[in-house]
């Protein structure tokens, strides 16, 4: 009697296992299928661009001449955003997880999560109407005193709507993403290691450096990559903030353009070849994100020994 019961229970357990692993596998397969469909859609829609004569492409000199400046512009904006947001985001996460009083930390974590939710239109409107006008004076100063550095070559923009402003707005947008995810990782760092480090006489910073950061490295990179995904693909905020133009080195003059903003600005009126061009631009953006992510995965995999599930 009891043995059959046991056997039956074991049997249901096995069915559960099968169903569960099957569902997990199915979900993975679904993602593969969807991605394949999206990729197919993109490639099919982008193809006419590559077969069109060079003179018909915007700019009249072929697709790659057209896309190159805005690829660089996209990278500039995303780089500025990550250079600002990564250190600050990690510091904010550390502040919440290891520095702030516990009760305050919970509230702060909540506020940070909330900030990730502000729609990009709002960030765009804020950047265009408030931040840009605040930055006019600093830009003027940079142009006058640091103008010999090509990055700050004058004359400074009279509206403050430059690629640097766009980068800062993007940084504000990705900061909550990075801060929120890294905070979760920091909170999961093994308590025993941290207490051991402190017990051995380590200062708080040494403890963080030895017991928290190495554990969190993969997670930090993942968080930064998610932030980068948003920075690269952000359309509305950049479209509203940036006074776009041809590719220039100076960060404080109006100029440069990002792929996502170009798509957002021109897609509504696009027709025929122009539409295919913009989708091809989307494909390029897709490939950039892909390349960056592959590098990030590679870095994470080199540090796999720190993750718990292996």
């Amino acid at each position: 009697m009891s043995t059959t019961k046991l056997a039956r229970r074991a049997g249901t357990g096995r069915t559960g296992d099968k169903v569960f692993s099957g569902a997990a596998l199915g979900a993975g397969a679904l993602i593969v299928a969807v991605l394949f469909a999206v990729a197919l859609f993109l490639v099919v829609q982008a193809l006419p661009t590559f077969s069109a004569p060079a003179a018909d492409i915007t700019g009249g000199e072929g697709f790659f001449t057209y896309i190159f400046p805005i690829v660089i512009g996209t990278l500039i904006a995303a780089t500025i955003a990550l250079l600002i947001a990564t250190p600050i985001g990690i510091a904010v996460a550390l502040f919440i997880s290891h520095y702030a009083p516990r009760k305050l930390a919970r509230g702060l974590g909540y506020v940070v999560d909330l900030l990730a939710a502000i729609p990009s239109v709002v960030y765009g409107a804020w950047g265009a109407s408030f931040l840009a006008s605040q930055l006019k004076v600093p830009y003027q100063w940079l142009a006058e005193n640091m103008g010999w550095i090509p990055l700050f070559a004058g004359p400074a923009s009279s509206t403050g709507k430059t690629i640097l402003t766009a980068g800062i707005v993007l940084a504000v947008m990705v900061l909550p993403i990075i801060a929120s995810l890294t905070r979760e990782i920091f909170l999961q760092a093994p308590m025993l290691h941290q207490e051991a480090a402190l017990a051995l006489g380590a200062t708080r910073w040494e403890m963080i450096r030895m017991a928290v950061l190495p554990f969190a490295r993969g997670g930090i990179i993942s968080a930064v990559m998610l932030g980068l995904g948003r920075a690269l693909g952000e359309t509305m905020a950049v479209a509203l903030v940036l006074s776009s133009g041809p590719l220039i080195a100076s960060l404080i003059r109006s100029g440069n353009q990002t792929i996502a903003a170009e798509i957002a600005l021109d897609f509504p009126e696009a027709f025929g070849l122009r539409m295919h061009e913009l989708i091809a631009a989307g494909l390029v953006l897709f490939l950039i994100t892909l390349a960056v992510n592959m590098v990030a995965r590679w870095i994470i995999n080199r540090h796999k020994e720190f993750s718990g599930a292996n």
Partner: protein, 372 residues
């Protein structure tokens, strides 16, 4: 902690507010308040009419929708302002019954429309006129007289300062400061830019060497912003800025340019815009019911304001069933009626079509029929 506390209070309040709104309503505007009676409409029609297209007409479309639906209680119009290109694409794909477009269908687009609309393809009917104002932000100056060449030079960055001799010559009375000019243009591809560059390319041939285009030539200096509201905002905030924008959105804070037409200077008005559109010729080689207009930007007709944008309703020449035909015709007739044009003018400050053009346009809409 305090933040958390405030958050909780806010959350409770919101939950309460949401609970209160659990019974939302579509009855926003009381009848008789701004909306009109359906006196002029013929027999009422029913069904849903779907359109996509230019965002420039969205304010007018809101008014038309409201007016049409109050006259035909069983009918519903939905319009998604995704852009002219999206609208034309959707019409050609057969996804919508009509499109709104700031430019008429090109010949090859007419050909591709035949697949879903039948052998007679689609027709373009003008239904919305918006004058494009050249607006500037110079303190104390509310009007300037400029010819097309000077405007083109300003937007190309050839004239860099407001006290330039060329501006002074035409405006001896204005006190023009020593202030750098910042041209502001649209960053998005738009019908406004296309019509304005068309005007410059035609009226200032020697200076404006770029072809007309919905994208502003990127090589030119200046700042840009997204959308009509964006350029107006940027210009209002930047001393010495000049821009072009649909007249309806230009506020009193900015000065407006009077364009030189023939030998006189014409300020921007709805009537002047309608006169310029009347002076236009119909594009040849299209079906008799197609009203695609070729605007004459160099017109010398007295009182005409040639920098105008004409927006078209694009319909199929034939629809498969009678219900759709009735709905489309009824809506088109309403939009082109005096009442429809007046409602758009009230709501969106557009220029009503002249009676002559409206009659022609109504005839075009009337020609829409069931496919054989």
């Amino acid at each position: 902690m305090k933040a958390l506390h405030i958050g909780r209070v806010a959350a409770v309040l919101t939950v309460g507010a949401l609970a209160l709104t659990a019974c939302g309503t579509d009855n926003v505007v009381e009848t008789g308040n701004g909306a009109t009676t359906g006196a002029s409409a013929g027999p009422t029609v029913t069904g849903t009419l779907t359109g996509t297209g230019a965002s420039s007409i969205s304010a007018a479309m809101d008014a038309w929708k409201a007016g049409f639906e109050s006259a035909n209680s069983g009918a519903k119009v939905q319009y998604s302002p995704e852009g002219s290109g999206a609208g034309r694409k959707a019409l050609i794909a057969g996804a919508v019954q009509f499109a709104g477009s700031d430019a008429y269908l090109k010949d090859e687009e007419l050909v591709s429309a035949q697949e879903k609309c039948g052998p007679d393809g689609a027709i373009n009917v003008p239904w919305y006129i918006s004058p494009i104002t050249v607006a500037f932000n110079v303190e104390g100056v509310k009007a300037l007289k400029l010819d097309a060449d000077t405007i083109a030079k300003i937007f190309r960055g050839d004239i860099k300062n407001w006290n330039d001799a060329a501006i002074k010559a035409a405006n001896p009375d204005a006190t023009l400061p020593d202030l750098a000019i910042t041209p502001v243009h649209r960053s998005d591809n738009s019908g406004t830019t296309e019509n304005f560059t068309d005007y410059l390319a035609a009226a200032a041939k020697t200076v404006w060497t770029d072809a007309k285009s919905g994208d502003w030539p990127t090589a030119l200096p200046g700042e840009n912003a997204k959308g009509t509201s964006g350029v107006v905002k940027t210009t209002t905030e930047t001393a010495g800025a000049i821009t072009y924008a649909d007249d309806s959105a230009v506020t009193d804070a900015l000065g407006k340019v009077e364009l030189k037409v023939g030998d006189t200077f014409v300020p921007v008005t709805a009537e002047a815009a309608a006169i310029a559109v009347d002076a236009a010729t119909v594009v040849e080689g299209r079906s008799a019911n197609d009203l695609s207009l070729k605007l004459d930007r160099t017109t010398t007709v007295a009182g005409a304001y040639p920098a105008v944008l004409v927006s078209y309703g694009v319909f199929c020449a034939h629809y498969p069933d009678a219900a759709t035909v009735d709905l489309v015709k009824s809506f088109g007739t309403f939009v082109l009626s005096d009442e429809g044009q007046k409602q758009a003018a009230d709501a969106a400050k557009s220029a009503p079509l002249s009676a002559a053009l409206a009659t022609k346009a109504k005839a075009s809409v009337d020609s829409i029929s069931v496919a054989k």
